[in-house]
Protein backbone atom coordinates (compact mmCIF):
# COMPACT_ATOMS: atom_id res chain seq x y z
CA UNK A 1 0.00 0.00 0.00
CA UNK A 2 1.17 3.50 -0.78
CA UNK A 3 1.71 6.01 1.96
CA UNK A 4 -0.92 8.65 2.13
CA UNK A 5 -0.29 12.06 3.52
CA UNK A 6 -2.75 11.44 6.31
CA UNK A 7 -0.92 8.29 7.35
CA UNK A 8 2.18 10.19 8.37
CA UNK A 9 0.11 12.20 10.82
CA UNK A 10 -1.37 8.98 12.06
CA UNK A 11 2.15 7.59 12.64
CA UNK A 12 2.94 10.49 14.87
CA UNK A 13 -0.40 10.27 16.58
CA UNK A 14 0.15 6.58 17.34
CA UNK A 15 3.68 7.18 18.56
CA UNK A 16 2.55 10.11 20.69
CA UNK A 17 -0.27 8.13 22.32
CA UNK A 18 2.11 5.31 23.15
CA UNK A 19 4.73 7.70 24.53
CA UNK A 20 2.18 9.41 26.75
CA UNK A 21 1.01 6.01 27.91
CA UNK A 22 4.57 5.08 28.86
CA UNK A 23 4.96 8.17 31.01
CA UNK A 24 1.54 7.82 32.57
CA UNK A 25 2.02 4.18 33.45
CA UNK A 26 5.45 4.73 34.89
CA UNK A 27 4.39 7.48 37.28
CA UNK A 28 0.71 6.89 37.83
CA UNK A 29 0.98 5.46 41.29
CA UNK A 30 3.13 8.25 42.73
CA UNK A 31 1.75 11.50 44.05
CA UNK A 32 4.17 13.83 42.29
CA UNK A 33 3.93 11.87 39.08
CA UNK A 34 6.49 12.54 36.43
CA UNK A 35 8.06 15.32 38.51
CA UNK A 36 9.96 12.65 40.37
CA UNK A 37 12.26 12.79 37.36
CA UNK A 38 12.89 16.47 38.01
CA UNK A 39 13.43 16.02 41.73
CA UNK A 40 15.85 13.12 41.44
CA UNK A 41 17.88 14.97 38.81
CA UNK A 42 17.97 18.11 40.97
CA UNK A 43 19.26 16.17 43.97
CA UNK A 44 21.94 14.51 41.88
CA UNK A 45 23.10 17.83 40.46
CA UNK A 46 23.15 19.51 43.86
CA UNK A 47 25.32 16.74 45.31
CA UNK A 48 27.70 16.60 42.37
CA UNK A 49 28.13 20.34 42.12
CA UNK A 50 28.99 20.54 45.80
CA UNK A 51 31.68 17.87 45.53
CA UNK A 52 33.16 18.97 42.23
CA UNK A 53 33.05 22.62 43.09
CA UNK A 54 35.46 21.84 45.88
CA UNK A 55 37.59 19.61 43.68
CA UNK A 56 37.76 21.70 40.53
CA UNK A 57 37.99 25.14 42.15
CA UNK A 58 36.35 26.87 39.20
CA UNK A 59 33.91 29.72 39.48
CA UNK A 60 30.88 28.22 41.21
CA UNK A 61 28.12 29.88 39.21
CA UNK A 62 29.60 29.00 35.86
CA UNK A 63 30.30 25.45 36.94
CA UNK A 64 26.80 24.93 38.30
CA UNK A 65 25.21 25.89 34.99
CA UNK A 66 27.83 23.89 33.11
CA UNK A 67 27.12 20.77 35.15
CA UNK A 68 23.35 21.15 35.11
CA UNK A 69 23.06 21.50 31.36
CA UNK A 70 25.72 18.90 30.64
CA UNK A 71 24.34 16.27 32.96
CA UNK A 72 20.72 16.66 31.93
CA UNK A 73 21.66 16.55 28.27
CA UNK A 74 23.79 13.49 28.87
CA UNK A 75 20.92 11.79 30.71
CA UNK A 76 18.72 12.52 27.72
CA UNK A 77 21.24 11.01 25.31
CA UNK A 78 21.97 8.01 27.50
CA UNK A 79 18.37 7.14 28.30
CA UNK A 80 17.30 7.51 24.70
CA UNK A 81 20.03 5.23 23.39
CA UNK A 82 19.40 2.67 26.14
CA UNK A 83 15.67 2.71 25.37
CA UNK A 84 16.43 2.25 21.68
CA UNK A 85 18.43 -0.86 22.40
CA UNK A 86 15.22 -2.43 23.74
CA UNK A 87 12.93 -0.75 21.22
CA UNK A 88 11.82 -3.72 19.15
CA UNK A 89 11.83 -6.17 22.04
CA UNK A 90 9.70 -3.85 24.12
CA UNK A 91 7.20 -3.65 21.27
CA UNK A 92 7.33 -7.29 20.23
CA UNK A 93 3.74 -7.93 21.21
CA UNK A 94 2.57 -5.26 18.78
CA UNK A 95 5.09 -6.20 16.08
CA UNK A 96 3.84 -9.78 16.09
CA UNK A 97 0.17 -8.88 15.90
CA UNK A 98 -0.46 -5.74 13.88
CA UNK A 99 1.12 -4.18 10.86
CA UNK A 100 1.97 -0.83 12.35
CA UNK A 101 5.05 0.72 10.75
CA UNK A 102 8.16 0.09 12.87
CA UNK A 103 8.79 3.79 12.50
CA UNK A 104 6.03 4.35 15.09
CA UNK A 105 8.06 2.51 17.73
CA UNK A 106 11.14 4.53 16.89
CA UNK A 107 9.25 7.78 17.25
CA UNK A 108 7.55 6.52 20.41
CA UNK A 109 10.89 6.29 22.17
CA UNK A 110 12.19 9.69 21.16
CA UNK A 111 8.90 11.36 22.12
CA UNK A 112 8.92 9.65 25.50
CA UNK A 113 12.43 10.87 26.16
CA UNK A 114 11.66 14.38 24.96
CA UNK A 115 8.83 14.49 27.50
CA UNK A 116 11.22 13.42 30.25
CA UNK A 117 13.76 16.01 29.08
CA UNK A 118 11.09 18.71 29.27
CA UNK A 119 10.52 17.83 32.92
CA UNK A 120 14.22 18.25 33.57
CA UNK A 121 14.30 21.40 31.49
CA UNK A 122 12.77 23.21 34.48
CA UNK A 123 16.06 22.75 36.34
CA UNK A 124 18.05 24.05 33.37
CA UNK A 125 15.77 27.05 33.08
CA UNK A 126 16.05 27.86 36.78
CA UNK A 127 19.83 27.46 36.82
CA UNK A 128 20.29 29.63 33.73
CA UNK A 129 17.89 32.35 34.82
CA UNK A 130 19.42 32.60 38.29
CA UNK A 131 23.11 32.43 37.42
CA UNK A 132 23.26 33.69 33.83
CA UNK A 133 21.61 36.35 31.76
CA UNK A 134 20.63 34.53 28.60
CA UNK A 135 19.66 36.62 25.60
CA UNK A 136 16.87 35.59 23.28
CA UNK A 137 19.50 34.55 20.76
CA UNK A 138 21.07 32.21 23.33
CA UNK A 139 17.74 30.50 23.91
CA UNK A 140 17.11 30.19 20.18
CA UNK A 141 20.54 28.67 19.72
CA UNK A 142 19.75 26.27 22.54
CA UNK A 143 16.53 25.13 20.86
CA UNK A 144 18.28 24.73 17.55
CA UNK A 145 20.91 22.66 19.29
CA UNK A 146 18.25 20.54 20.92
CA UNK A 147 16.59 19.85 17.58
CA UNK A 148 19.89 18.86 15.96
CA UNK A 149 20.71 16.62 18.92
CA UNK A 150 17.29 14.95 18.77
CA UNK A 151 17.50 14.36 15.02
CA UNK A 152 20.91 12.78 15.55
CA UNK A 153 19.55 10.53 18.26
CA UNK A 154 16.78 9.32 15.94
CA UNK A 155 19.12 8.03 13.26
CA UNK A 156 21.42 6.48 15.84
CA UNK A 157 18.41 4.94 17.54
CA UNK A 158 17.04 3.55 14.29
CA UNK A 159 20.30 1.72 13.68
CA UNK A 160 20.59 0.63 17.28
CA UNK A 161 17.07 -0.71 17.53
CA UNK A 162 17.58 -2.88 14.46
CA UNK A 163 21.00 -4.15 15.50
CA UNK A 164 19.81 -4.87 19.03
CA UNK A 165 16.80 -6.79 17.74
CA UNK A 166 19.12 -9.06 15.76
CA UNK A 167 21.92 -9.35 18.31
CA UNK A 168 20.67 -9.41 21.85
CA UNK A 169 24.02 -8.86 23.55
CA UNK A 170 24.67 -5.52 21.86
CA UNK A 171 22.59 -3.75 24.50
CA UNK A 172 24.87 -5.04 27.29
CA UNK A 173 27.86 -3.91 25.28
CA UNK A 174 26.23 -0.53 24.71
CA UNK A 175 25.67 0.06 28.43
CA UNK A 176 29.37 -0.43 29.08
CA UNK A 177 30.35 1.83 26.21
CA UNK A 178 27.98 4.55 27.40
CA UNK A 179 29.50 4.44 30.85
CA UNK A 180 32.97 4.89 29.40
CA UNK A 181 31.79 7.72 27.15
CA UNK A 182 30.33 9.45 30.18
CA UNK A 183 33.78 9.65 31.75
CA UNK A 184 35.51 10.54 28.50
CA UNK A 185 33.17 13.42 27.78
CA UNK A 186 33.46 16.69 29.64
CA UNK A 187 30.24 16.61 31.63
CA UNK A 188 31.41 16.60 35.22
CA UNK A 189 34.92 17.80 34.43
CA UNK A 190 35.64 20.82 32.26
CA UNK A 191 37.76 21.22 29.15
CA UNK A 192 40.14 23.41 31.17
CA UNK A 193 42.17 20.36 32.09
CA UNK A 194 43.55 20.27 28.56
CA UNK A 195 45.11 23.73 28.86
CA UNK A 196 48.80 23.22 28.25
CA UNK A 197 48.32 19.54 27.53
CA UNK A 198 47.53 19.18 23.85
CA UNK A 199 48.62 15.55 23.57
CA UNK A 200 45.35 14.23 24.90
CA UNK A 201 43.06 16.63 23.13
CA UNK A 202 42.11 13.91 20.67
CA UNK A 203 39.79 12.60 23.40
CA UNK A 204 37.60 15.60 22.67
CA UNK A 205 38.16 15.85 18.95
CA UNK A 206 37.10 12.29 18.25
CA UNK A 207 34.16 12.29 20.62
CA UNK A 208 30.87 12.78 18.81
CA UNK A 209 29.03 13.10 22.10
CA UNK A 210 31.19 16.04 23.10
CA UNK A 211 29.86 18.02 20.13
CA UNK A 212 26.33 16.83 20.80
CA UNK A 213 26.46 18.18 24.34
CA UNK A 214 28.29 21.35 23.38
CA UNK A 215 25.63 22.45 20.91
CA UNK A 216 23.24 22.58 23.83
CA UNK A 217 25.53 23.72 26.61
CA UNK A 218 27.55 26.49 24.96
CA UNK A 219 24.53 28.62 23.97
CA UNK A 220 23.35 28.66 27.56
CA UNK A 221 26.82 29.58 28.78
CA UNK A 222 26.67 32.47 26.32
CA UNK A 223 29.28 31.44 23.75
CA UNK A 224 27.80 29.20 21.07
CA UNK A 225 30.23 27.67 18.62
CA UNK A 226 28.59 27.57 15.17
CA UNK A 227 31.17 25.17 13.80
CA UNK A 228 29.78 22.47 16.07
CA UNK A 229 26.27 23.20 14.83
CA UNK A 230 27.33 22.87 11.23
CA UNK A 231 29.32 19.72 11.92
CA UNK A 232 26.46 17.96 13.70
CA UNK A 233 24.01 19.01 10.99
CA UNK A 234 26.27 17.60 8.29
CA UNK A 235 26.54 14.32 10.21
CA UNK A 236 22.77 13.98 9.83
CA UNK A 237 23.04 13.38 6.09
CA UNK A 238 25.16 10.21 6.06
CA UNK A 239 23.51 9.17 9.30
CA UNK A 240 20.01 9.21 7.88
CA UNK A 241 21.00 7.74 4.54
CA UNK A 242 22.74 4.83 6.20
CA UNK A 243 20.14 4.16 8.86
CA UNK A 244 17.23 4.29 6.43
CA UNK A 245 19.08 1.98 4.09
CA UNK A 246 19.45 -0.50 6.95
CA UNK A 247 15.87 0.13 8.09
CA UNK A 248 14.43 -0.53 4.67
CA UNK A 249 16.52 -3.62 4.21
CA UNK A 250 15.63 -5.25 7.50
CA UNK A 251 12.29 -3.83 8.63
CA UNK A 252 10.36 -6.87 7.39
CA UNK A 253 12.70 -9.28 9.12
CA UNK A 254 12.40 -7.77 12.57
CA UNK A 255 9.22 -9.72 13.25
CA UNK A 256 11.20 -12.97 12.98
CA UNK A 257 13.98 -11.73 15.22
CA UNK A 258 11.75 -10.86 18.14
CA UNK A 259 9.82 -14.14 18.14
Amino acid sequence: MKLKHKDIFYFFFQAYSLAILDIKIRYRRSYLGAFWITISTAILIATLSLIFFIALKSSPQNYFVYLTVGLITWKYIEMTLKDYSYCMIENQQLIKQVSISKFVYIIRIILRNIIIFLHNFIIILLAVLIFKNPTLLNLLEFFLGFIILTLNLVWMGTLLSIICARFRDVSEFLFNILQIIFYLTPIIWTTDIFIGNDNFKFILDLNLFFYLIEIIRLPLLGNANYNYFIFMTLILIPGYIFSFFIYNKYKNKIVFWVQ
Binding site: Q14, S17, K24, V98, D169
Partner: protein, 253 residues
Protein backbone atom coordinates in the same frame (compact mmCIF):
# COMPACT_ATOMS: atom_id res chain seq x y z
CA UNK B 1 -14.57 -8.39 -7.26
CA UNK B 2 -11.33 -9.62 -5.77
CA UNK B 3 -10.52 -8.21 -2.35
CA UNK B 4 -7.16 -9.91 -1.93
CA UNK B 5 -5.03 -12.05 -4.17
CA UNK B 6 -2.22 -14.26 -2.93
CA UNK B 7 -0.14 -15.91 -5.58
CA UNK B 8 2.61 -18.47 -5.01
CA UNK B 9 3.13 -17.41 -1.43
CA UNK B 10 5.84 -19.18 0.53
CA UNK B 11 6.92 -18.30 4.00
CA UNK B 12 10.22 -19.44 5.49
CA UNK B 13 10.87 -18.43 9.05
CA UNK B 14 14.40 -18.51 10.47
CA UNK B 15 14.58 -19.91 13.97
CA UNK B 16 17.74 -18.79 15.71
CA UNK B 17 19.59 -20.58 18.44
CA UNK B 18 21.11 -18.58 21.29
CA UNK B 19 24.51 -18.33 19.67
CA UNK B 20 23.07 -16.81 16.53
CA UNK B 21 21.52 -13.99 18.53
CA UNK B 22 24.87 -12.96 19.97
CA UNK B 23 27.27 -10.64 18.22
CA UNK B 24 30.11 -11.82 20.44
CA UNK B 25 29.59 -15.34 19.17
CA UNK B 26 29.60 -14.09 15.64
CA UNK B 27 32.96 -12.39 16.08
CA UNK B 28 34.54 -15.31 17.90
CA UNK B 29 33.20 -17.62 15.29
CA UNK B 30 34.77 -15.51 12.59
CA UNK B 31 38.22 -15.28 14.15
CA UNK B 32 38.66 -18.52 15.99
CA UNK B 33 36.53 -21.30 14.69
CA UNK B 34 36.07 -20.36 11.12
CA UNK B 35 39.30 -21.74 9.79
CA UNK B 36 39.02 -25.11 11.51
CA UNK B 37 35.42 -25.49 10.53
CA UNK B 38 36.09 -24.52 6.98
CA UNK B 39 39.01 -26.89 6.64
CA UNK B 40 36.89 -29.75 7.85
CA UNK B 41 33.90 -28.58 5.86
CA UNK B 42 31.70 -28.50 8.92
CA UNK B 43 28.81 -26.12 8.93
CA UNK B 44 27.53 -25.10 12.30
CA UNK B 45 23.81 -24.68 12.38
CA UNK B 46 23.26 -21.23 13.72
CA UNK B 47 19.65 -21.13 12.71
CA UNK B 48 17.25 -23.39 10.95
CA UNK B 49 14.83 -22.33 8.31
CA UNK B 50 11.36 -23.61 8.92
CA UNK B 51 9.04 -23.76 5.97
CA UNK B 52 5.71 -22.56 7.26
CA UNK B 53 3.77 -21.95 4.06
CA UNK B 54 4.45 -23.53 0.73
CA UNK B 55 3.17 -22.17 -2.54
CA UNK B 56 -0.18 -20.82 -1.45
CA UNK B 57 -2.59 -19.48 -4.05
CA UNK B 58 -5.70 -17.83 -2.73
CA UNK B 59 -8.21 -15.37 -4.11
CA UNK B 60 -10.53 -13.71 -1.65
CA UNK B 61 -13.64 -12.35 -3.36
CA UNK B 62 -16.15 -9.84 -2.15
CA UNK B 63 -18.77 -11.56 -0.03
CA UNK B 64 -16.50 -14.44 0.92
CA UNK B 65 -16.74 -15.68 4.47
CA UNK B 66 -13.74 -17.97 4.61
CA UNK B 67 -13.12 -20.32 7.48
CA UNK B 68 -9.62 -21.74 7.90
CA UNK B 69 -9.30 -25.08 9.64
CA UNK B 70 -6.39 -27.40 10.16
CA UNK B 71 -4.30 -29.07 12.81
CA UNK B 72 -2.01 -27.11 15.12
CA UNK B 73 1.07 -25.94 13.26
CA UNK B 74 -0.47 -26.31 9.84
CA UNK B 75 0.10 -22.62 9.06
CA UNK B 76 -3.31 -21.11 9.76
CA UNK B 77 -2.11 -18.20 11.85
CA UNK B 78 0.85 -17.57 9.56
CA UNK B 79 -1.47 -17.30 6.59
CA UNK B 80 -3.59 -14.80 8.49
CA UNK B 81 -0.47 -12.88 9.48
CA UNK B 82 0.59 -12.66 5.85
CA UNK B 83 -2.80 -11.27 4.87
CA UNK B 84 -2.52 -8.79 7.74
CA UNK B 85 0.98 -7.70 6.57
CA UNK B 86 2.57 -8.74 9.84
CA UNK B 87 4.67 -11.34 8.04
CA UNK B 88 6.09 -10.69 4.63
CA UNK B 89 6.22 -13.64 2.25
CA UNK B 90 9.61 -15.08 1.35
CA UNK B 91 8.49 -15.61 -2.23
CA UNK B 92 5.33 -14.81 -4.13
CA UNK B 93 3.20 -11.74 -4.09
CA UNK B 94 0.16 -10.48 -2.32
CA UNK B 95 -2.19 -7.83 -3.61
CA UNK B 96 -4.53 -6.21 -1.13
CA UNK B 97 -7.20 -4.08 -2.75
CA UNK B 98 -8.87 -3.05 0.47
CA UNK B 99 -8.02 -2.02 3.94
CA UNK B 100 -7.32 -5.05 6.09
CA UNK B 101 -8.25 -5.10 9.73
CA UNK B 102 -6.93 -8.00 11.70
CA UNK B 103 -7.78 -9.08 15.19
CA UNK B 104 -5.31 -11.84 15.83
CA UNK B 105 -5.07 -11.45 19.55
CA UNK B 106 -8.07 -10.16 21.41
CA UNK B 107 -6.06 -8.78 24.31
CA UNK B 108 -3.67 -6.79 22.14
CA UNK B 109 -3.23 -3.18 23.18
CA UNK B 110 -4.71 -3.76 26.60
CA UNK B 111 -2.59 -2.23 29.32
CA UNK B 112 -3.15 -3.20 32.94
CA UNK B 113 -2.19 0.15 34.42
CA UNK B 114 -4.42 2.21 32.16
CA UNK B 115 -8.11 2.67 32.89
CA UNK B 116 -10.93 1.14 30.88
CA UNK B 117 -11.60 4.36 28.98
CA UNK B 118 -7.91 4.86 28.20
CA UNK B 119 -7.69 1.30 26.99
CA UNK B 120 -10.58 1.88 24.64
CA UNK B 121 -8.78 4.68 22.87
CA UNK B 122 -5.42 2.88 22.93
CA UNK B 123 -6.77 -0.30 21.42
CA UNK B 124 -8.70 1.69 18.86
CA UNK B 125 -5.53 3.59 17.98
CA UNK B 126 -3.56 0.36 17.55
CA UNK B 127 -6.28 -1.06 15.32
CA UNK B 128 -6.05 2.09 13.20
CA UNK B 129 -9.30 3.78 14.16
CA UNK B 130 -10.07 7.44 13.97
CA UNK B 131 -10.11 8.95 17.46
CA UNK B 132 -13.08 11.15 16.58
CA UNK B 133 -15.11 8.08 15.87
CA UNK B 134 -14.05 6.51 19.13
CA UNK B 135 -15.29 9.55 21.01
CA UNK B 136 -18.59 9.42 19.17
CA UNK B 137 -19.07 5.76 19.82
CA UNK B 138 -17.67 5.45 23.30
CA UNK B 139 -21.11 4.89 24.83
CA UNK B 140 -21.83 2.18 22.33
CA UNK B 141 -18.55 0.48 23.18
CA UNK B 142 -19.26 0.59 26.89
CA UNK B 143 -22.73 -0.77 26.26
CA UNK B 144 -21.47 -3.72 24.22
CA UNK B 145 -18.85 -4.50 26.84
CA UNK B 146 -21.56 -4.58 29.49
CA UNK B 147 -19.30 -2.85 32.04
CA UNK B 148 -20.71 -0.27 34.44
CA UNK B 149 -19.71 3.42 34.39
CA UNK B 150 -17.87 2.95 37.65
CA UNK B 151 -15.82 -0.01 36.46
CA UNK B 152 -14.88 1.61 33.17
CA UNK B 153 -12.86 4.32 34.94
CA UNK B 154 -10.84 1.88 36.98
CA UNK B 155 -7.46 0.54 35.91
CA UNK B 156 -7.56 -2.68 33.95
CA UNK B 157 -5.65 -4.73 36.51
CA UNK B 158 -8.74 -4.62 38.73
CA UNK B 159 -10.74 -6.40 36.02
CA UNK B 160 -11.26 -10.11 35.73
CA UNK B 161 -9.82 -11.59 32.55
CA UNK B 162 -13.32 -12.07 31.17
CA UNK B 163 -14.13 -8.41 31.73
CA UNK B 164 -10.94 -7.30 30.01
CA UNK B 165 -11.74 -9.48 27.02
CA UNK B 166 -15.23 -8.13 26.78
CA UNK B 167 -13.87 -4.60 26.72
CA UNK B 168 -11.33 -5.48 24.01
CA UNK B 169 -14.01 -7.19 21.97
CA UNK B 170 -16.35 -4.23 22.30
CA UNK B 171 -13.72 -1.89 20.86
CA UNK B 172 -13.26 -4.17 17.86
CA UNK B 173 -17.00 -4.11 17.21
CA UNK B 174 -17.03 -0.48 16.13
CA UNK B 175 -14.52 -1.11 13.36
CA UNK B 176 -15.85 -1.08 9.84
CA UNK B 177 -13.33 -3.29 8.13
CA UNK B 178 -13.28 -4.11 4.46
CA UNK B 179 -11.35 -7.32 4.84
CA UNK B 180 -11.58 -8.72 8.34
CA UNK B 181 -9.05 -11.23 9.63
CA UNK B 182 -9.85 -13.09 12.83
CA UNK B 183 -7.79 -15.69 14.62
CA UNK B 184 -8.90 -18.43 16.96
CA UNK B 185 -9.75 -16.20 19.90
CA UNK B 186 -13.53 -16.38 19.27
CA UNK B 187 -13.79 -19.67 21.10
CA UNK B 188 -11.85 -18.61 24.19
CA UNK B 189 -13.16 -16.79 27.23
CA UNK B 190 -15.86 -17.50 29.75
CA UNK B 191 -19.58 -17.93 29.29
CA UNK B 192 -20.25 -14.19 29.59
CA UNK B 193 -17.74 -13.45 26.87
CA UNK B 194 -19.23 -16.06 24.58
CA UNK B 195 -22.65 -14.51 25.10
CA UNK B 196 -21.31 -11.10 24.09
CA UNK B 197 -19.59 -12.58 21.06
CA UNK B 198 -22.65 -14.46 19.86
CA UNK B 199 -24.84 -11.42 20.24
CA UNK B 200 -22.63 -9.01 18.29
CA UNK B 201 -20.53 -10.99 15.89
CA UNK B 202 -23.15 -11.51 13.23
CA UNK B 203 -23.96 -7.82 12.96
CA UNK B 204 -20.25 -7.05 12.85
CA UNK B 205 -19.51 -9.53 10.08
CA UNK B 206 -22.34 -8.16 7.98
CA UNK B 207 -20.52 -4.82 7.83
CA UNK B 208 -17.46 -6.34 6.18
CA UNK B 209 -16.81 -7.00 2.50
CA UNK B 210 -14.94 -10.20 3.20
CA UNK B 211 -13.94 -12.25 6.18
CA UNK B 212 -11.26 -14.82 6.80
CA UNK B 213 -11.02 -16.52 10.12
CA UNK B 214 -9.31 -19.46 11.72
CA UNK B 215 -11.08 -21.63 14.22
CA UNK B 216 -11.25 -25.10 15.67
CA UNK B 217 -14.95 -24.73 16.32
CA UNK B 218 -16.52 -26.53 13.37
CA UNK B 219 -20.06 -25.59 14.39
CA UNK B 220 -19.16 -21.91 14.35
CA UNK B 221 -17.47 -22.35 10.97
CA UNK B 222 -20.57 -23.97 9.52
CA UNK B 223 -22.72 -21.18 10.92
CA UNK B 224 -20.67 -18.23 9.71
CA UNK B 225 -18.76 -19.29 6.61
CA UNK B 226 -19.68 -19.88 3.01
CA UNK B 227 -16.24 -21.19 2.04
CA UNK B 228 -13.72 -23.25 3.97
CA UNK B 229 -10.02 -23.86 3.53
CA UNK B 230 -8.29 -26.83 5.09
CA UNK B 231 -4.61 -26.24 5.77
CA UNK B 232 -2.21 -29.12 6.03
CA UNK B 233 1.55 -28.80 6.53
CA UNK B 234 1.70 -25.36 4.98
CA UNK B 235 -0.41 -26.19 1.96
CA UNK B 236 -4.01 -25.54 1.08
CA UNK B 237 -5.36 -29.06 1.14
CA UNK B 238 -8.95 -28.25 0.34
CA UNK B 239 -10.90 -25.17 -0.70
CA UNK B 240 -14.64 -25.38 -1.05
CA UNK B 241 -18.03 -25.62 0.59
CA UNK B 242 -18.21 -25.74 4.40
CA UNK B 243 -20.26 -28.94 4.65
CA UNK B 244 -17.85 -30.81 2.39
CA UNK B 245 -14.82 -29.40 4.13
CA UNK B 246 -16.05 -30.40 7.56
CA UNK B 247 -16.76 -33.91 6.27
CA UNK B 248 -13.29 -34.24 4.79
CA UNK B 249 -11.64 -32.74 7.83
CA UNK B 250 -13.38 -34.99 10.33
CA UNK B 251 -12.76 -38.11 8.24
CA UNK B 252 -9.15 -37.13 7.77
CA UNK B 253 -8.67 -36.92 11.50
Amino acid sequence: MIVANLSNISLHIPIYNYGALSIKDKFLHFFRENKILRENKIQRNRYIIKIILNNINLKINKGDRIGVIGANGSGKTSLLKIISSVYFPTTGSIILRNQVTSILDITLGIYGEATGVENISLRAMILGLDQKKVKEKIHEIIEISGLSEEVINQPLFTYSSGMAMRLAFAVSMILEPELLVLDEWLAVGDYEFQKTVNKNLEIFIKKTKALIFASHDLEQIKKICNRVIIMKEGLIFFDGKPSEAVKIYTNEK
